[in-house]
């Protein structure tokens, strides 16, 4: 089975020649890498908090626990090495905007801007479900904010803050749901991400390792071993689709 993978990057600044400034091209050299005879698997996720693409025993590739098959031979899909990874987040239906818990719920709980656990008392129900990503923004200055995943019960919202902006101890919070896919990774394709990476609509990641030498300890992390897992959470948002492709040999 011949398999062609090509990843290109083209970046170009074009200034219209009709303006007072003459045509200007500021171009990054085109970058293209390609490789044959790789194996691949694809997956699409539209809901749920624990969608996974993982490496199991003997390098078998699983998607949310289901073993993937080689499309030609029908046998289990096994990776010896990770070679590439791609994640794109788009609308599940191009004409339908994602939906999520209500925005604009306020809280007057006095909290210092910092990472870690923060408990907001809210006057009105936000309708969040556990795992939803929420940003708390100061009404007085939108440069002051905290963001993270939440657990929610009655009038108490607990946020595990992982990203912040600004400083200070404030009590004028407005809470907004961040409609996104949240990505974590355990040494998948050589990358570990413990703090959830939020990918909103229109986001993409592509990673390609062109060369892996099994005898080179420098690249041991890209060997496919049991337990390497990519997790995608769509908790609290409906109408987004996360498309994933993985490459291996």
């Amino acid at each position: 089975m011949a398999n062609t993978f090509r990843l290109t990057l083209k970046a170009q600044n074009n200034h219209p020649a009709s303006t007072v400034v003459g045509a200007v091209t500021h171009q990054v050299p085109d970058q293209t890498v390609s490789e044959q005879s790789l194996q691949s698997a694809v997956a699409e996720f539209t809901s749920g908090a624990s969608n996974t693409v993982a490496i199991g025993a003997s390098g078998v590739v699983t998607v949310s626990g289901t073993t993937q098959k080689d499309p030609v031979t029908g046998s289990n899909l096994n990776f010896t090495n990770h070679r590439g990874l791609g994640v794109s987040v788009e609308r599940a239906d191009a004409d339908t905007a994602p939906t999520y818990a209500a925005n604009g719920v306020t809280s007057t709980t006095s909290l210092a801007i910092a990472t870690g656990s923060k408990v907001f008392t809210v006057a009105a129900s936000g309708g969040w479900i556990d795992g939803t990503r929420v940003r708390a923004v100061s009404a007085a200055n939108h440069d002051n904010w905290m963001e993270g995943t939440v657990t929610y019960s009655a009038t108490s919202l607990t946020m595990t803050v992982d990203t912040i902006g600004g400083t200070g101890t404030l009590a004028d919070w407005t809470l907004y749901t961040v409609p996104c896919a949240q990505i974590t990774s355990t040494n998948f394709c050589g990358v570990t991400v413990s703090t959830a990476l939020p990918l909103v609509e229109g986001s993409s990641i592509a990673l390609f390792h062109d060369y892996v030498s099994l005898s080179n300890s420098d690249v041991w992390k890209k060997k496919a071993t049991n337990g390497q897992t990519l997790t995608i959470s769509l908790a609290g948002v409906t109408g987004l689709k996360a498309s994933v492709f993985v490459l291996g040999d």
Binding site: L9, A11, P198, A206, D210, S243
Partner: protein, 163 residues
């Protein structure tokens, strides 16, 4: 200044039909993105140094020095609303015909809102692309670090773009 990027990845399995298996396409949905209206900076890193790309409200910086990159005005690139959108890097050999040794270490402590654990390793002809239209600004002390000290003969082309 209009600014256009095109990023695409295509994965395709094709069996030529002459073997035991008939032609079977196993095609991954196209990863194809064209974006425009962005400012950008471009860098090439060689040698064995350790370099960090970050940004403030006005400009990208490398090793804490602002990058003056607008090809028309010659002024520092302005980053609207303190928002950066994406970055890409390509690892290649610095001199054609001379094979690199070792690897390049990449660490992200918050550039484009992404924090990776430890570092990951890239070798010749590796490529990484990240785009997020709502990336938060880089906080003080965070950035994308390219460590060339664990190898020789590498060239890292680095591109970052912003609102």
């Amino acid at each position: 200044m209009a600014n256009q990027f095109k990023i695409s990845a295509l994965v395709q399995n094709i069996v030529d039909g002459r073997g035991t298996n008939r032609k079977v396409p196993h095609k991954v949905p196209a990863f194809d993105k064209a974006i425009s209206g962005y400012g950008s900076c471009v860098l090439e890193l060689t040698g064995t140094g350790v370099h960090t790309l970050s940004n403030d409200a006005q400009s990208f910086s490398i090793d804490a020095s602002d990058l003056f990159d607008d090809p028309i005005t010659g002024q520092a690139l302005e980053i609207a609303d303190n928002i950066i959108y994406g970055w890409a890097l390509v690892v290649d050999r610095a001199v054609a015909g001379t094979a690199p040794t070792g690897h390049v270490r990449v660490t992200n402590s918050g550039f484009c809102g992404w924090i990776s654990d430890g570092h990951w390793k890239m070798m010749e002809d590796s490529i990484f692309i990240f785009h997020n239209p709502e990336s938060p600004a880089t906080s003080d002390g965070t950035g994308l670090t390219i460590d060339l000290s664990n190898g020789t003969g590498y060239k890292v082309s680095l591109l970052a773009w912003c609102k």
